[in-house]
């Protein structure tokens, strides 16, 4: 059978999987980025217990292989009387993982805003939360955006791990097709092409974003 026809024939089965992969990625980013920002702010807090909590979440989220974190939640939450769907478990694990990495980029971004900005905010009457929100945070976010966008690409790739706890995402669908048709090489090549193409498109968007963000900060 012609390869293209074969691939086209599989697409209706793979597409729902891809949709779930994208949903999983989107939710992990939507939850993981704000969580990461919270962890970053807590890490800089004066109140020590906040620092410890942040440290624990970040070190577990980054120090463990994502797969181990996923299994850890998957096997232990039911014992603790919490029953969640595989998808929800995967979202939590991936968000945690994302948040832990994102917090490092947010911290770096916050640290890169010159001290003079904070002082100028204070002397302009913009102290505390207001100054943080309208002076420091926008500048920090701009610095953190390129690495965060890079992280988003990795999160998309990481969503493939959800396969191991039977979330019906792209890898699962490919596996299904493979075990029925035994055309493993072909179906995983197609899967690789799908991941690769979307990743490339995303990386392209990241480039454009970087250029746009940097524009008015450039000297002429």
């Amino acid at each position: 059978m012609d390869l293209i026809t074969q691939w086209l024939g599989w697409m209706p089965n793979l597409t729902p999987g891809l949709v779930i992969s994208l949903q999983l990625t989107g939710l992990a980013l939507l939850i993981g980025f704000p969580f990461g920002l919270l962890l970053a702010v807590m890490a800089e807090a004066k109140f020590k217990p906040f620092q410890w909590i942040s440290f624990a979440f970040v070190e577990i989220g980054r120090g463990l292989p994502a797969l181990v974190l996923l299994y850890l939640l998957y096997f232990s939450l039911p014992d603790a009387g919490i029953t969640l769907t595989s998808l929800t478990t995967a979202i939590i694990a991936l968000s945690w993982n994302t948040g832990a990495y994102a917090s490092e980029y947010f911290r770096a971004g916050l640290a890169a805003v010159p001290l003079g900005q904070k002082e100028a905010a204070i002397t302009s009457g913009l102290s505390g939360w207001t100054g943080f929100r309208i002076v420091i945070l926008p500048q920090a976010l701009r610095i953190s955006t390129p690495p965060l966008a890079g992280l988003a690409v990795l999160v998309f790739q990481g969503s493939a791990l959800a396969f191991v706890i039977a979330v019906p995402e792209l890898m699962s669908k490919a596996f299904e097709i493979g075990s029925i048709t035994f055309e493993y090489l072909s179906v995983y090549t197609l899967t690789a092409v799908i991941y690769g193409t979307l990743t490339l498109i995303f990386l392209g968007l990241v480039r454009i974003l970087e250029l746009r963000l940097g524009r008015h900060l450039l000297r002429n």
Binding site: E119, T123, S127
Partner: protein, 263 residues
């Protein structure tokens, strides 16, 4: 020496716009500010000079609590704070910062905001002004610092001198009673510095109370009524500008002036 401008008569009555007494600051055991006292009348301009490391910046930054002083009292434009172990209550601190405006050596404009936003945002957040009110004030200030056409520009597109003039406008927008300047021209080429000094001179003529850390001896002599010389964290001497410049009382002041003027 260059042109001299008519100086205002030294203030007689102490209306006490600024009253600082016994101001001290320690970093650990190192005392970087020792028993600094000064009182300034409304509308008075005082230049603070002295060698690098003398404590000039620390002094200025203690006045609005960018640094926490270890001891002393600060009273500025109706706000009053007594330094102690703990930070003063938020209301006093906010009051103190409301009555002071500050201009930094490195401008510190907010790079992600346009010139207009730099000037209007503090007004809207602090004074609760409407957008229209704030922009009205901003436009007047931009005219005053000679940059009415730059409202829509981002700071990175401006020269250093332009940025510093905008920074002055931003500080003025909150109608402070006292302006604090920490070496506002030190990061600029001398001829660019002049455009900033001109704005400051106008401000002084309009009656703003100003405390200016500077190495510009013309400005110190011609614009300020008094000069305060600092060294080693303390006040070496303070007196009418011309007198301090021509007949310094203190040996170290003399050495410092000689070094600066010979350059």
């Amino acid at each position: 020496m260059g042109l001299s401008f008519g100086t205002k008569a030294p203030p007689t009555a102490l209306s006490g716009e600024v009253e600082v007494s016994g101001l001290g600051k320690k970093y650990g055991v190192i005392e970087v500010l020792k028993d600094v006292n000064i009182s300034m009348a409304e509308g008075e301009v005082v230049s603070v000079i002295g060698p690098s490391g003398a404590g000039k910046s620390t002094f200025l930054r203690c006045l609005n609590y960018l640094e926490k002083p270890s001891s002393g009292t600060i009273a500025i434009g109706g706000a009053r704070v007594v330094a102690g172990e703990k930070l003063p209550d938020k209301a006093s601190l906010d009051h103190l910062r409301r009555v002071t405006g500050m201009v930094f050596q490195s401008f510190n404009l907010f790079p992600h905001l346009t010139v207009m936003e730099n000037i209007t945002l503090p007004q809207r957040k602090v004074l609760g002004s409407s957008k229209e009110q704030a922009e009205e004030v901003a436009n007047q200030l931009l005219k005053r610092v000679g940059l009415p056409e730059k409202a829509k520009a981002y700071p990175a597109r401006l020269s250093g001198g332009q940025q510093q003039r905008i920074a002055i406008a931003r500080a003025l927008a909150l109608s402070p009673k006292v302006m604090l300047f920490d070496e506002p021209t030190s990061a600029l080429d001398p001829e660019i510095g002049l455009e900033v000094l001109a704005v400051m001179r106008d401000l002084a003529d309009e009656g703003m109370t100003m405390l200016v850390v500077t190495h510009e001896m013309h400005f110190a002599r011609d614009v300020s009524e008094r000069i305060m010389v600092m060294g080693n964290g303390g006040v070496l001497e303070i007196g009418p500008s011309r007198q301090v410049m021509s007949e310094p009382q203190n040996d170290r002041t003399r050495q410092f002036l000689k070094a600066v003027l010979d350059r």
